[in-house]
C-alpha cells in the first residue's frame, strides 16, 4: 500500500475517534519537508576501544614511524607484485592495506581523513574519553546530555512540532551517550527487528490494546509505536536490495550500516544516525599489514564503502564521521601491540567534503614532538570537526550551545 494513502486513512480513523493526530501530522511533515528539501543526514560511527590511528592512516614518509614500530609497521607503498604495503594517498600518508575498499572514495574526492585529531583531555581511560567525546565536553563530567541530542533539541524543522520518530536512530541495543538527553531518539538492533514479534492477528490485538482513545503517556506512546512500525514496514525491510552493486559485510557492523541505508532511503525523516563497533583495544599482537587490526579494518572499510556505494547520489546530502576516543602509543609495546595514547584520526566522508587530502597539521613522531614523550600529539580538537559538520552540513546555528566554551579552529576546512 502506498505510504501516503495509508497515513491518510489511519489519520482519518484517529480523527473519527477524537484523537489528536499530532503524531501523524509530524510524521507527514517529516516526510514531506526533508524529501522536498532533500534533508541532510549525519552518520556518526564510533570505533570503541581506541583505534590505532598510526596504523590506520599511516605516515610511511616518516622514518620514526618504522623505528617506533619494528614489528607492526606497515611497509611503504610498493608496486612489487606480492608484497603488501600501504595504499599511497599523498606521498607521505597511506591507508592501511585492509582499507582498500575506501581507496575509490579517496580517488573520487569523497574521503577526507583528519589526522592528529582528538580530545585535549589527558585521560587515557576508555570510559572517560568516550564520555568526553560523546558529550563533547572534554574534562567536564557533569554534562547530562550527548552533543547529538543537544543538536536535536536545539534545531528542528519547526518550533512547534515534535520531531518524526525516526529523526534520530542509534543502531545499538541501548541509547548511546551521544544521543542521551531530552530529545527523543530510537535505539534498535536493525530495521528488520523493529517490529512486533507476533503473527498478524495477535499483533492487531496488541495494537487494539493501545488504540483506545486514551491519551495518557503509555497509550499515546504505544499508538505512536504502532504507527512507526507500520511506517518502516512500508519500506519493506525484508526485501531490501542494496543499489549500485553494494555488498555489505555479513558482520554486525555491516548489517547496521545496511539498516541505516534502509532508513535513509525509506524517507522516514532520518537526520542523525549512530552506530558503533568494538575490537580496537589492541594491546596484544595487533599485527601489521595483516593480523588482528587488519581484520577489524577490513570489516570497517568494507562496510563504509558498501554504505557509500549503496547511497550513490544521496551522498551529496550525507556526511559520515568516524571517531574513536583516543589514539594509541607511537611505540609498540612488548606484546606486539600498542597501549593507550593521545591523538588519533577521523574520517569525514561525503559528497561535499574537501576530499582527496589529509587534513590537520602533522606534529611529527620524533621523541620531542610526541605528547608526553610517547603519543601522537594533538593539533586539531575533535570539536572543530564536529562544529564544521554541525554548522556547514546540518546547518546548526547554535554551535556555542552544542560545544559550550569551545572556539573552533577556523582553518580546518574539511567541509565547504
Amino acid at each position: 500500500m502506498p505510504r501516503r494513502v495509508f497515513l491518510k486513512d489511519s489519520a482519518l480513523a484517529l480523527v473519527t475517534l477524537g484523537l489528536s493526530p499530532s503524531f501523524l501530522r509530524r510524521t507527514t511533515l517529516a516526510m514531506d519537508l526533508p524529501l522536498a528539501a532533500r534533508g541532510k543526514v549525519l552518520i556518526c560511527l564510533f570505533q570503541r576501544g581506541a583505534a590505532d590511528a598510526l596504523n590506520v592512516v599511516l605516515p610511511f614518509g616518516e622514518r620514526e614511524y618504522y623505528a617506533l614500530r619494528p614489528s607492526i609497521a606497515v611497509a611503504p607503498p610498493t608496486r612489487a607484485a606480492g608484497s603488501v604495503g600501504a595504499i599511497d594517498l599523498d606521498g607521505f600518508f597511506g591507508l592501511h592495506p585492509a582499507l582498500a575498499p575506501l581507496k575509490p572514495l579517496w580517488d573520487s574526492g569523497l574521503l577526507a581523513p583528519v589526522h592528529a585529531v582528538g580530545s585535549p583531555s589527558a585521560t587515557r581511560s576508555h570510559f572517560d574519553a568516550q564520555d568526553y567525546m560523546e558529550s563533547a565536553t572534554p574534562d567536564h563530567k557533569g554534562t547530562p546530555d550527548g552533543w547529538l541530542n543537544r543538536y536535536l533539541a536545539t534545531s528542528g524543522t519547526c518550533e512547534q512540532c515534535t520531531p518524526a520518530p525516526f529523526r534520530a536512530v542509534a543502531m545499538t541495543p541501548q541509547t548511546p551517550r551521544i544521543l542521551q538527553g531530552s530529545a527523543p531518539s530510537v535505539a534498535m538492533n536493525s530495521v528488520a527487528e523493529f517490529t512486533v514479534r507476533s503473527g498478524g492477528t495477535q499483533a492487531a490485538q496488541l495494537e487494539a490494546l493501545y488504540r483506545t482513545g486514551s491519551a495518557d503517556l503509555i497509550h499515546g506512546t504505544g499508538t505512536e509505536m504502532f504507527e512507526a512500525v507500520k511506517l518502516l514496514r512500508a519500506a519493506n525491510p525484508q526485501r531490501y536490495q542494496p543499489e549500485h552493486g553494494a555488498v555489505y559485510p555479513a558482520s554486525q557492523f555491516g548489517q547496521r550500516l545496511l539498516s541505516i541505508a534502509q532508513l535513509i532511503k525509506s524517507g522516514v525523516g532520518l537526520e542523525v544516525a549512530f552506530a558503533d563497533v568494538g575490537g580496537w583495544d589492541t594491546h596484544v599482537n595487533q599485527g601489521g599489514a595483516t593480523g588482528q587490526l587488519a581484520q577489524r579494518l577490513g570489516d570497517f572499510g568494507a562496510a563504509i564503502a558498501a554504505l557509500v556505494t549503496d547511497l550513490g547520489d544521496r551522498m551529496e546530502d550525507v556526511v559520515i564521521v568516524t571517531m574513536s576516543e583516543f589514539g594509541r602509543m607511537a611505540q609498540q609495546n612488548g606484546n606486539g601491540g600498542t597501549d593507550h595514547g593521545h591523538a588519533g584520526a577521523m574520517f569525514v566522508i561525503g559528497g561535499r567534503v574537501n576530499g582527496r587530502r589529509v587534513h590537520g597539521q602533522w606534529p611529527g613522531l620524533a621523541r620531542e614532538q610526541l605528547y608526553e614523550g610517547r603519543d601522537l600529539a594533538l593539533t586539531t580538537d575533535f570539536r572543530t570537526v564536529f562544529t564544521e559538520v554541525a554548522t556547514k552540513h546540518l546547518g546548526a546555528t547554535k554551535a556555542d550551545t552544542l560545544f559550550p566554551g569551545f572556539a573552533p579552529n577556523a582553518t580546518l576546512g574539511v567541509l565547504g
Binding site: R197, Q205, G334
Partner: protein, 588 residues
C-alpha cells in the same frame, strides 16, 4: 533523560500547605486521621502496597497481606531483619562474588589489563602461546565475575522475602549509581557494593550509608576520588618526596619498580596528580543536597579537597578503602559555612559527610526522591515536606522516612493507584514473580533487562536511571516491552514456562473468556479497563475495529490459546504500570 531537579523552591514556599503537621509515627499502625484519609478501598490498599513495596506480587501474596492487615505487613517489611530469608540467602551465597569481598576477588583473580602490562614489560615483540592463554583465562575470570554480579542482583530481587529491602537496594544503587564499564577494576567491586555496602544500610541511617558509599571501592573508582590528590602548591599532610612515602609506594606498586613500566608512569602521574572534583561535585549535586541545594563551585572544590587521600588500597595490601596522607590536602577549607581546620587528615572527609548528611536540603532531596519512587512522578510538596521533617528529626533514619511515605494518605490515594510506570527491571521482575519463576544462574535474564534498555550496572552517567514514566516511555521502549511479553508467552525466558502458570490445566480447557479472567487475575490484579478486557476476549477493539493491515514480522513467536492470552496481557498498557497482580489465586 535529564538530571533530577528537586522542587526545593516549591518546598520552601510550601510552609502554609493545607496538610497539618502530624506527629512522627514511630510505632506500627498509622494514626486514625491518616487512616481515614485513605481513598483507596481496603482491597486496593493491599494490591497497591504489594505493587509498590515489592518487585511484584507472587501467587498467594495478596491473601497473606489481606489476612495480616496491610499496615502490619508494611511494618514487617520495614524490618527486614525480622523476616527469614533463607532461600534467597542460600541461593545468593552460592556465588563466589557474594562469598568474597571486593579486595579478595581482586587478589584472587588477576586484572587482565595489569597482566598484559606485566607480560609486555618482560617480552619483546610479541606474546607466547602460554602468555596468551593466561591472558585469555584472566579475561574469562573477569567476565564471570561481572556476570555473576548481575545474575545475583536479579536473582535476589526475585527470591527475597524482604522485598522492601530489595526495592530500597535498587533505589540506593540508582541514587548512588556506579557503572560497570568504567574500567576493569569496577567489575571486582560491584557485588561487594550491592551486598556489603548498600543492602545492609538500605533502611538504616543515611549518614551511615553515605559514609559506606564514600569508602566503597566501587564509588571511589567510578567517580575518580581514588586518584584525587592535593593540587601542587597546596600543603600535603605528608610530603610525597619523603623516603617513607617512596618506600610505601614501592611496597604498594611492585610493578612500578621498572621506571619505564606503565605502572611506574601511573604512579608518577598519581603522585603529581592534582585535585579531581568529580566525586566532590556529585556528592553535593546527586548524592546529598541536590542541584538546587544551595552550594557554590567553591564548596565543590573544598569538598573535593577534604576528600583527597580517600583511596583504594592495592590488591596485595588489604584492598578496600585506605586513607593516604601524602595525597591529602592539609590546608584549611570552608564548606557550606563550616570551617575545617588546617592540618587534619581523614577527619576532614568525615566531617564533610556529617555536614552534608545533616543539611536541610539533603533531607528534602532524599524525601522528594523517595516520595517520587513510591507515590507518583510528581509527589505533593506537603508529603515531601513531612518526610523531610522526619528525616531531620530522626537524624536521617531511612526506615522512618520510608514509613512516613508508604503509610501516608497520599500513598493510599486513588490517584496514586497505578500512577507509576515500571522500569525495565520492574517489568521483567514483576513478570517473573507473577509466574513464580525460578532464578537464573546465567546472564540471560539480565540480558533481557538490558534489552529493554536498563542494563544492570550499565548506567554510564552518575545520575542513575530515570525514576519517572517520561524517562522510560519511547516508541522503541514500548515495542521492546511488548516483544518481551511475547517471548515469555512463547516459553523463551529462562525459569518461566507457561506450563507453570497457576491453574494452567483448568485454564487450558476453559473457554476464552474464563482464560482471560484467569490471566487478568494473575497478571493484572483482576483489574483492567473494559477495552483491554474486550480485546483480550475477542481480539477486537470496540472503539476501533482495527483493520490493522497485518503487521508482517521477521520472526514471529508462536503462541496459541492460553499462551496467547498471557502474551497479550503482558503486552497490555496496564502491565506497563506498577500494578497489582494476583488479586486472586482462585479461578474466577
Amino acid at each position: 533523560m535529564r538530571r533530577v531537579v528537586a522542587p526545593v523552591a516549591a518546598l520552601i514556599l510550601a510552609g502554609c500547605s493545607s496538610a497539618p503537621a502530624r506527629p512522627v509515627e514511630m510505632r506500627p499502625g498509622p494514626d486514625p486521621v491518616a487512616l481515614a484519609a485513605r481513598t483507596q478501598t481496603a482491597d486496593q490498599q493491599v494490591l497497591h502496597a504489594l505493587a509498590r513495596l515489592t518487585f511484584g506480587a507472587r501467587p498467594g501474596d495478596a491473601e497473606r497481606v489481606r489476612q495480616m492487615g496491610v499496615d502490619r505487613w508494611i511494618d514487617e517489611q520495614l524490618h527486614p531483619e525480622r523476616i527469614a530469608d533463607a532461600s534467597a540467602e542460600a541461593w545468593a551465597g552460592d556465588f563466589e562474588v557474594v562469598q568474597k569481598t571486593a579486595a579478595q576477588l581482586e587478589a584472587a583473580y588477576q586484572n587482565p589489563g595489569a597482566l598484559v602490562n606485566q607480560l609486555g614489560a618482560r617480552n619483546s615483540g610479541g606474546m607466547t602461546r602460554d602468555d596468551s592463554l593466561r591472558v585469555r583465562q584472566a579475561r574469562q575470570n573477569l567476565r564471570r565475575i561481572a556476570e555473576e554480579a548481575q545474575a545475583v542482583r536479579v536473582g535476589r530481587a526475585l527470591l527475597s522475602e524482604r522485598q522492601l529491602q530489595e526495592v530500597m537496594t535498587d533505589f540506593w544503587l540508582n541514587h548512588f549509581s556506579v557503572f560497570a564499564g568504567k574500567g576493569i577494576r569496577e567489575q571486582y567491586y560491584l557485588a561487594d557494593y550491592e551486598n556489603r555496602v548498600i543492602r545492609p544500610r538500605a533502611l538504616g541511617k543515611f549518614r551511615d550509608l553515605l559514609g559506606a558509599v564514600a569508602k566503597s571501592p566501587a564509588m571511589l573508582f567510578y567517580l575518580d576520588n581514588w586518584e584525587s590528590a592535593a593540587d601542587s602548591g597546596r600543603p600535603r599532610l605528608v610530603n610525597p618526596a619523603e623516603p617513607v612515602v617512596r618506600r610505601a609506594v614501592r611496597r604498594r606498586f611492585p610493578a612500578a619498580a621498572n621506571p619505564q613500566s606503565p605502572m611506574a608512569q601511573q604512579v608518577r602521574r598519581r603522585l603529581r596528580a592534582g585535585l579531581n572534583e568529580n566525586y566532590g561535585r556529585e556528592l553535593l549535586e546527586l548524592h546529598t543536597l541536590g542541584v538546587d541545594g544551595g552550594y557554590t563551585q567553591q564548596d565543590v572544590i573544598n569538598a573535593a579537597r577534604a576528600l583527597t587521600g580517600w583511596t583504594i588500597a592495592g590488591p596485595r595490601q588489604s584492598g578496600g578503602f585506605t586513607f593516604t596522607p601524602f595525597m591529602h590536602d592539609a590546608g584549611e577549607k570552608r564548606i557550606l559555612g563550616h570551617t575545617l581546620k588546617a592540618g587534619r587528615g581523614i577527619e576532614d572527609g568525615e566531617e564533610l559527610l556529617d555536614i552534608v548528611a545533616r543539611h536541610p536540603s539533603t533531607a528534602r532531596f532524599i524525601a522528594y526522591k523517595l516520595a517520587r519512587r513510591f507515590v507518583s512522578d510528581s509527589p505533593s510538596t506537603a508529603l515531601v515536606e513531612r518526610a523531610a521533617v522526619v528525616f531531620q528529626r530522626t537524624d536521617g533514619d531511612l526506615r522512618e522516612v520510608v514509613r512516613t511515605i508508604v503509610t501516608s494518605p497520599e500513598f493510599f490515594a486513588r490517584e496514586s493507584y497505578r500512577a507509576k510506570v515500571k522500569s525495565p527491571f520492574e517489568v521483567v521482575l514483576s513478570t517473573l514473580r507473577a509466574l513464580n519463576a525460578q532464578p537464573d544462574r546465567s546472564m540471560r535474564t539480565a540480558q533481557l533487562i538490558a534489552g529493554l534498555g536498563q542494563p544492570v550496572y550499565g548506567r554510564q552517567t552518575p545520575d542513575g536511571w530515570p525514576e519517572t514514566g517520561e524517562g522510560w516511555m519511547g516508541t522503541g521502549a514500548i515495542l521492546n516491552r511488548i516483544n518481551f511479553g511475547l517471548l515469555v508467552a512463547a516459553g523463551r525466558v529462562p525459569g518461566v514456562t507457561p506450563a507453570a502458570f497457576p491453574h494452567v490445566e483448568e485454564l487450558r480447557q476453559a473457554p476464552r473468556e474464563q482464560q482471560v479472567d484467569g490471566v487478568v487475575g494473575v497478571l493484572l490484579g483482576g483489574d483492567v479497563s473494559s477495552v483491554t478486557r474486550a480485546v483480550l476476549v475477542s481480539g477486537r477493539n470496540p472503539l476501533l475495529d482495527a483493520a490493522a493491515d497485518s503487521l508482517a514480522t521477521a520472526r514471529p513467536l508462536p503462541a496459541r490459546g492460553l499462551a496467547q492470552v498471557i502474551g497479550l496481557a503482558l503486552g497490555s498498557p496496564e502491565f506497563q504500570r506498577r500494578s497489582p497482580s494476583h488479586a486472586t489465586s482462585r479461578l474466577p
